[in-house]
Subunit: 155 residues, 2 copies
Amino acid sequence: MRKIFLFMDTIFNKVDAKGRVSLPADYRAIAKELSTEIVCYRSLSAPCIEGCLEDSLDKLATEIENATDFFSETQDNLTNLIFGDAKRFAFDSTGRIMLTEKLLKHAQITDAAVFVGKGRKFQIWNPQNWEKEEARIRAEVMKNRPTLKAPKEQE
Amino acid sequence: MRKIFLFMDTIFNKVDAKGRVSLPADYRAIAKELSTEIVCYRSLSAPCIEGCLEDSLDKLATEIENATDFFSETQDNLTNLIFGDAKRFAFDSTGRIMLTEKLLKHAQITDAAVFVGKGRKFQIWNPQNWEKEEARIRAEVMKNRPTLKAPKEQE
DNA sequence: TTGAATCCCATAAAATACCATGTTATACCA
DNA sequence: TGGTATAACATGGTATTTTATGGGATTCAA
Protein backbone atom coordinates (compact mmCIF):
# COMPACT_ATOMS: atom_id res chain seq x y z
CA MET A 1 0.00 0.00 0.00
CA ARG A 2 1.57 3.25 -1.07
CA LYS A 3 1.51 6.32 1.09
CA ILE A 4 1.82 9.08 -1.45
CA PHE A 5 -0.79 10.19 -3.90
CA LEU A 6 0.12 12.62 -6.61
CA PHE A 7 -1.34 13.25 -10.03
CA MET A 8 1.59 13.28 -12.40
CA ASP A 9 2.70 12.91 -15.97
CA THR A 10 1.03 14.02 -19.18
CA ILE A 11 -1.21 11.46 -20.85
CA PHE A 12 -2.88 11.66 -24.23
CA ASN A 13 -6.19 9.79 -24.59
CA LYS A 14 -8.92 9.65 -27.19
CA VAL A 15 -12.43 10.86 -26.63
CA ASP A 16 -14.97 8.75 -28.49
CA ALA A 17 -18.22 9.81 -30.11
CA LYS A 18 -20.13 9.25 -26.89
CA GLY A 19 -17.83 11.55 -24.97
CA ARG A 20 -16.06 8.74 -23.16
CA VAL A 21 -12.40 9.02 -22.07
CA SER A 22 -10.17 6.61 -20.28
CA LEU A 23 -9.02 8.09 -17.02
CA PRO A 24 -5.26 7.36 -16.87
CA ALA A 25 -4.61 4.16 -14.94
CA ASP A 26 -2.43 5.96 -12.39
CA TYR A 27 -5.21 8.38 -11.60
CA ARG A 28 -7.72 5.60 -11.22
CA ALA A 29 -5.40 3.77 -8.86
CA ILE A 30 -5.28 6.80 -6.59
CA ALA A 31 -9.06 7.16 -6.39
CA LYS A 32 -9.42 3.46 -5.84
CA GLU A 33 -6.84 3.15 -3.10
CA LEU A 34 -8.21 6.16 -1.25
CA SER A 35 -11.78 4.97 -1.80
CA THR A 36 -12.79 8.37 -3.00
CA GLU A 37 -14.10 9.81 -6.23
CA ILE A 38 -12.82 12.08 -8.92
CA VAL A 39 -14.41 15.50 -9.17
CA CYS A 40 -14.19 17.75 -12.21
CA TYR A 41 -15.06 21.38 -12.87
CA ARG A 42 -14.27 24.15 -15.31
CA SER A 43 -10.95 25.80 -14.55
CA LEU A 44 -11.38 29.42 -13.50
CA SER A 45 -8.09 30.47 -15.00
CA ALA A 46 -7.68 28.55 -18.22
CA PRO A 47 -9.68 26.91 -21.00
CA CYS A 48 -9.37 23.47 -19.48
CA ILE A 49 -11.10 21.05 -17.16
CA GLU A 50 -9.73 20.71 -13.68
CA GLY A 51 -9.99 17.57 -11.58
CA CYS A 52 -9.19 16.51 -8.07
CA LEU A 53 -10.25 14.04 -5.42
CA GLU A 54 -13.50 14.58 -3.59
CA ASP A 55 -11.34 14.61 -0.46
CA SER A 56 -9.68 17.80 -1.60
CA LEU A 57 -12.99 19.60 -2.01
CA ASP A 58 -14.05 18.33 1.37
CA LYS A 59 -10.93 19.78 2.87
CA LEU A 60 -11.65 23.06 1.17
CA ALA A 61 -15.17 23.09 2.58
CA THR A 62 -13.86 22.47 6.08
CA GLU A 63 -11.31 25.24 5.78
CA ILE A 64 -14.00 27.68 4.79
CA GLU A 65 -16.14 26.51 7.66
CA ASN A 66 -13.38 27.14 10.15
CA ALA A 67 -12.03 30.37 8.80
CA THR A 68 -14.44 33.11 9.78
CA ASP A 69 -12.62 36.20 8.65
CA PHE A 70 -9.85 34.51 6.80
CA PHE A 71 -11.48 34.25 3.44
CA SER A 72 -12.18 37.34 1.47
CA GLU A 73 -15.46 37.87 -0.28
CA THR A 74 -13.86 37.23 -3.63
CA GLN A 75 -12.65 33.85 -2.54
CA ASP A 76 -16.05 33.12 -1.09
CA ASN A 77 -17.54 33.85 -4.46
CA LEU A 78 -15.04 31.52 -6.02
CA THR A 79 -16.15 28.68 -3.80
CA ASN A 80 -19.69 29.24 -5.00
CA LEU A 81 -18.46 28.88 -8.53
CA ILE A 82 -16.47 25.77 -7.80
CA PHE A 83 -19.00 23.85 -5.80
CA GLY A 84 -21.73 24.96 -8.14
CA ASP A 85 -19.78 23.68 -11.08
CA ALA A 86 -18.13 20.56 -9.66
CA LYS A 87 -19.46 17.13 -10.41
CA ARG A 88 -18.43 13.63 -9.40
CA PHE A 89 -17.22 11.34 -12.13
CA ALA A 90 -17.25 7.64 -11.43
CA PHE A 91 -15.37 5.51 -13.92
CA ASP A 92 -16.87 2.33 -15.33
CA SER A 93 -15.38 -1.16 -15.30
CA THR A 94 -13.06 -0.30 -18.17
CA GLY A 95 -11.84 2.85 -16.46
CA ARG A 96 -13.68 5.44 -18.49
CA ILE A 97 -15.59 8.52 -17.44
CA MET A 98 -18.11 10.45 -19.50
CA LEU A 99 -17.42 14.15 -19.59
CA THR A 100 -20.33 16.53 -19.91
CA GLU A 101 -21.06 18.89 -22.78
CA LYS A 102 -20.39 21.88 -20.54
CA LEU A 103 -16.91 20.72 -19.62
CA LEU A 104 -15.96 19.59 -23.10
CA LYS A 105 -17.06 22.90 -24.54
CA HIS A 106 -15.18 24.94 -21.98
CA ALA A 107 -11.98 23.06 -22.81
CA GLN A 108 -12.68 22.90 -26.54
CA ILE A 109 -12.24 19.16 -26.45
CA THR A 110 -13.66 17.09 -29.28
CA ASP A 111 -11.95 13.82 -30.08
CA ALA A 112 -8.85 13.79 -27.91
CA ALA A 113 -7.74 15.01 -24.51
CA VAL A 114 -4.52 15.44 -22.58
CA PHE A 115 -4.35 14.80 -18.85
CA VAL A 116 -1.76 16.95 -17.10
CA GLY A 117 -0.74 16.13 -13.53
CA LYS A 118 -0.54 18.97 -11.02
CA GLY A 119 0.16 17.15 -7.78
CA ARG A 120 -3.02 17.29 -5.77
CA LYS A 121 -5.00 18.26 -8.87
CA PHE A 122 -4.87 17.60 -12.58
CA GLN A 123 -6.09 19.29 -15.73
CA ILE A 124 -7.62 18.05 -18.94
CA TRP A 125 -6.76 19.98 -22.09
CA ASN A 126 -7.44 20.06 -25.76
CA PRO A 127 -4.11 18.64 -27.07
CA GLN A 128 -3.29 21.60 -29.31
CA ASN A 129 -4.15 24.10 -26.61
CA TRP A 130 -1.97 22.29 -24.14
CA GLU A 131 0.96 22.24 -26.49
CA LYS A 132 0.78 26.01 -26.76
CA GLU A 133 0.21 26.45 -23.06
CA GLU A 134 3.17 24.30 -22.15
CA ALA A 135 5.43 26.27 -24.44
CA ARG A 136 4.15 29.48 -22.88
CA ILE A 137 4.75 28.27 -19.35
CA ARG A 138 8.21 26.99 -20.18
CA ALA A 139 9.17 30.30 -21.76
CA GLU A 140 7.89 32.20 -18.75
CA VAL A 141 9.68 30.06 -16.22
CA MET A 142 12.92 30.34 -18.16
CA LYS A 143 12.56 34.08 -18.40
CA ASN A 144 12.07 34.50 -14.68
CA ARG A 145 14.82 32.11 -13.76
CA PRO A 146 17.63 32.71 -16.22
CA THR A 147 19.93 30.43 -14.29
CA LEU A 148 17.75 27.56 -15.35
CA LYS A 149 18.35 28.17 -19.02
CA ALA A 150 19.22 25.00 -20.82
CA PRO A 151 22.75 24.86 -22.15
CA LYS A 152 23.23 24.64 -25.86
CA GLU A 153 23.61 21.21 -27.30
CA GLN A 154 27.12 19.95 -27.53
CA GLU A 155 28.45 18.70 -30.82
CA MET B 1 18.14 0.34 9.61
CA ARG B 2 20.33 3.13 8.32
CA LYS B 3 19.41 6.73 8.90
CA ILE B 4 21.07 8.54 6.04
CA PHE B 5 19.90 8.37 2.47
CA LEU B 6 21.93 9.91 -0.27
CA PHE B 7 22.18 9.15 -3.96
CA MET B 8 25.88 8.82 -4.67
CA ASP B 9 28.48 7.47 -7.06
CA THR B 10 28.46 7.26 -10.84
CA ILE B 11 27.13 4.06 -12.35
CA PHE B 12 27.14 2.99 -15.96
CA ASN B 13 24.28 0.72 -17.09
CA LYS B 14 22.96 -0.53 -20.38
CA VAL B 15 19.59 0.45 -21.81
CA ASP B 16 17.91 -2.28 -23.84
CA ALA B 17 15.65 -1.97 -26.88
CA LYS B 18 12.55 -1.59 -24.71
CA GLY B 19 14.08 1.26 -22.77
CA ARG B 20 14.73 -0.81 -19.68
CA VAL B 21 17.60 0.06 -17.32
CA SER B 22 18.71 -1.41 -14.08
CA LEU B 23 18.36 1.12 -11.34
CA PRO B 24 21.63 0.96 -9.37
CA ALA B 25 21.25 -1.36 -6.41
CA ASP B 26 22.10 1.39 -3.93
CA TYR B 27 19.34 3.58 -5.30
CA ARG B 28 16.85 0.77 -5.10
CA ALA B 29 17.81 0.09 -1.51
CA ILE B 30 16.97 3.67 -0.59
CA ALA B 31 13.53 3.58 -2.16
CA LYS B 32 12.85 0.23 -0.59
CA GLU B 33 13.87 1.18 2.92
CA LEU B 34 11.87 4.37 2.82
CA SER B 35 8.92 2.56 1.21
CA THR B 36 8.65 5.15 -1.46
CA GLU B 37 9.07 5.26 -5.21
CA ILE B 38 11.43 6.83 -7.66
CA VAL B 39 10.17 9.76 -9.72
CA CYS B 40 11.87 10.99 -12.88
CA TYR B 41 11.48 14.10 -15.01
CA ARG B 42 13.35 16.09 -17.62
CA SER B 43 15.92 18.37 -16.07
CA LEU B 44 15.07 22.03 -16.59
CA SER B 45 18.70 23.03 -16.79
CA ALA B 46 20.52 20.27 -18.62
CA PRO B 47 20.01 17.60 -21.29
CA CYS B 48 19.55 14.84 -18.74
CA ILE B 49 16.91 13.02 -16.74
CA GLU B 50 16.55 13.93 -13.13
CA GLY B 51 15.28 11.58 -10.43
CA CYS B 52 14.28 11.84 -6.81
CA LEU B 53 12.06 10.13 -4.27
CA GLU B 54 8.32 10.55 -4.43
CA ASP B 55 8.58 11.86 -0.88
CA SER B 56 10.38 14.92 -2.15
CA LEU B 57 7.64 15.76 -4.60
CA ASP B 58 4.98 15.14 -2.00
CA LYS B 59 6.70 17.62 0.26
CA LEU B 60 6.68 20.10 -2.56
CA ALA B 61 2.98 19.54 -3.19
CA THR B 62 2.21 20.12 0.48
CA GLU B 63 4.28 23.27 0.55
CA ILE B 64 2.44 24.63 -2.42
CA GLU B 65 -0.85 23.67 -0.86
CA ASN B 66 -0.04 25.52 2.33
CA ALA B 67 1.60 28.52 0.79
CA THR B 68 -1.24 29.30 -1.56
CA ASP B 69 -4.94 28.77 -1.36
CA PHE B 70 -6.91 26.42 -3.51
CA PHE B 71 -7.47 28.84 -6.36
CA SER B 72 -4.14 30.59 -6.43
CA GLU B 73 -2.49 31.07 -9.78
CA THR B 74 0.90 32.00 -8.44
CA GLN B 75 2.35 28.54 -8.40
CA ASP B 76 0.11 27.25 -11.12
CA ASN B 77 2.70 27.42 -13.84
CA LEU B 78 5.31 25.65 -11.83
CA THR B 79 3.10 22.77 -10.76
CA ASN B 80 2.07 22.16 -14.34
CA LEU B 81 5.67 22.02 -15.40
CA ILE B 82 6.94 19.85 -12.59
CA PHE B 83 4.11 17.42 -11.96
CA GLY B 84 3.10 17.36 -15.59
CA ASP B 85 6.52 16.11 -16.50
CA ALA B 86 7.25 13.84 -13.54
CA LYS B 87 6.39 10.17 -13.56
CA ARG B 88 6.61 7.37 -11.05
CA PHE B 89 8.93 4.52 -11.89
CA ALA B 90 8.41 1.31 -9.99
CA PHE B 91 11.17 -1.21 -10.53
CA ASP B 92 10.39 -4.86 -11.18
CA SER B 93 11.74 -7.88 -9.32
CA THR B 94 15.03 -7.63 -11.19
CA GLY B 95 15.45 -3.96 -10.33
CA ARG B 96 14.73 -2.38 -13.68
CA ILE B 97 12.65 0.61 -14.65
CA MET B 98 11.36 1.46 -18.10
CA LEU B 99 12.19 4.96 -19.19
CA THR B 100 9.82 6.73 -21.55
CA GLU B 101 10.51 7.97 -25.04
CA LYS B 102 10.20 11.56 -23.89
CA LEU B 103 12.85 11.19 -21.22
CA LEU B 104 15.24 9.20 -23.37
CA LYS B 105 14.99 11.74 -26.14
CA HIS B 106 15.57 14.69 -23.84
CA ALA B 107 18.72 13.09 -22.50
CA GLN B 108 19.80 11.73 -25.90
CA ILE B 109 20.04 8.27 -24.39
CA THR B 110 19.93 5.26 -26.70
CA ASP B 111 21.70 2.13 -25.49
CA ALA B 112 23.53 3.17 -22.34
CA ALA B 113 23.09 5.53 -19.43
CA VAL B 114 25.09 6.91 -16.54
CA PHE B 115 23.55 7.47 -13.13
CA VAL B 116 25.12 10.36 -11.28
CA GLY B 117 24.39 10.83 -7.59
CA LYS B 118 23.45 14.29 -6.39
CA GLY B 119 22.49 13.70 -2.77
CA ARG B 120 18.73 14.01 -2.52
CA LYS B 121 18.49 13.72 -6.29
CA PHE B 122 20.31 11.96 -9.06
CA GLN B 123 20.70 12.44 -12.79
CA ILE B 124 20.76 10.09 -15.73
CA TRP B 125 23.00 11.06 -18.63
CA ASN B 126 24.02 9.91 -22.02
CA PRO B 127 27.55 8.60 -21.22
CA GLN B 128 29.36 10.79 -23.73
CA ASN B 129 27.44 13.87 -22.67
CA TRP B 130 28.22 13.21 -19.05
CA GLU B 131 31.91 12.85 -19.77
CA LYS B 132 31.95 16.26 -21.37
CA GLU B 133 29.75 17.76 -18.71
CA GLU B 134 31.93 16.48 -15.92
CA ALA B 135 35.01 17.93 -17.56
CA ARG B 136 33.23 21.22 -18.02
CA ILE B 137 32.07 21.39 -14.41
CA ARG B 138 35.53 20.48 -13.15
CA ALA B 139 37.17 23.14 -15.27
CA GLU B 140 34.69 25.75 -14.16
CA VAL B 141 35.07 24.99 -10.50
CA MET B 142 38.81 25.21 -10.78
CA LYS B 143 38.66 28.49 -12.64
CA ASN B 144 36.22 30.15 -10.29
CA ARG B 145 37.73 28.92 -7.08
CA PRO B 146 41.51 29.04 -7.41
CA THR B 147 41.70 28.90 -3.64
CA LEU B 148 40.98 25.25 -3.96
CA LYS B 149 44.28 24.74 -5.66
CA ALA B 150 46.44 27.12 -3.68
CA PRO B 151 44.72 28.78 -0.79
CA LYS B 152 45.90 32.28 0.05
CA GLU B 153 44.78 35.19 2.19
CA GLN B 154 41.54 36.99 1.54
CA GLU B 155 41.72 40.69 0.72
C1' DT C 1 -40.54 4.91 -27.53
C1' DT C 2 -36.66 7.23 -28.48
C1' DG C 3 -32.46 9.17 -27.13
C1' DA C 4 -29.03 8.99 -23.86
C1' DA C 5 -26.42 6.89 -20.38
C1' DT C 6 -24.47 2.65 -18.48
C1' DC C 7 -22.69 -1.85 -18.75
C1' DC C 8 -20.43 -5.70 -20.93
C1' DC C 9 -17.49 -8.03 -24.32
C1' DA C 10 -13.58 -8.21 -27.64
C1' DT C 11 -9.02 -6.96 -29.19
C1' DA C 12 -4.51 -5.07 -30.02
C1' DA C 13 -0.76 -2.92 -28.06
C1' DA C 14 1.93 -1.76 -24.39
C1' DA C 15 3.54 -2.31 -19.78
C1' DT C 16 4.93 -5.41 -16.35
C1' DA C 17 6.32 -9.67 -14.05
C1' DC C 18 8.96 -13.65 -14.35
C1' DC C 19 12.81 -16.88 -15.56
C1' DA C 20 17.61 -17.89 -16.95
C1' DT C 21 22.53 -16.84 -17.30
C1' DG C 22 27.09 -14.89 -17.05
C1' DT C 23 29.68 -11.81 -14.36
C1' DT C 24 31.18 -9.37 -10.51
C1' DA C 25 31.46 -8.47 -5.86
C1' DT C 26 31.20 -10.19 -1.17
C1' DA C 27 31.65 -13.44 2.58
C1' DC C 28 33.89 -17.18 4.54
C1' DC C 29 37.44 -20.31 5.82
C1' DA C 30 41.93 -22.43 5.89
C1' DT D 1 46.55 -13.50 3.34
C1' DG D 2 45.01 -16.13 -0.32
C1' DG D 3 41.71 -18.90 -2.29
C1' DT D 4 37.16 -20.60 -2.77
C1' DA D 5 32.19 -20.76 -2.02
C1' DT D 6 28.26 -17.82 -2.01
C1' DA D 7 25.41 -14.18 -2.89
C1' DA D 8 24.16 -10.08 -5.49
C1' DC D 9 23.77 -7.84 -9.72
C1' DA D 10 23.05 -6.57 -14.49
C1' DT D 11 20.94 -8.09 -18.49
C1' DG D 12 18.77 -10.90 -22.35
C1' DG D 13 14.64 -13.20 -23.33
C1' DT D 14 9.77 -14.73 -22.70
C1' DA D 15 5.18 -15.03 -20.64
C1' DT D 16 1.47 -12.73 -18.46
C1' DT D 17 -1.27 -8.84 -17.28
C1' DT D 18 -2.93 -4.32 -17.81
C1' DT D 19 -4.66 -0.64 -20.53
C1' DA D 20 -6.89 1.92 -23.98
C1' DT D 21 -10.49 1.77 -27.10
C1' DG D 22 -14.08 0.20 -30.47
C1' DG D 23 -18.59 -1.81 -30.73
C1' DG D 24 -22.86 -3.68 -29.18
C1' DA D 25 -26.47 -4.79 -25.68
C1' DT D 26 -29.18 -3.29 -21.85
C1' DT D 27 -31.28 -0.06 -18.87
C1' DC D 28 -33.31 4.27 -17.67
C1' DA D 29 -35.86 8.39 -18.11
C1' DA D 30 -38.26 11.89 -20.54
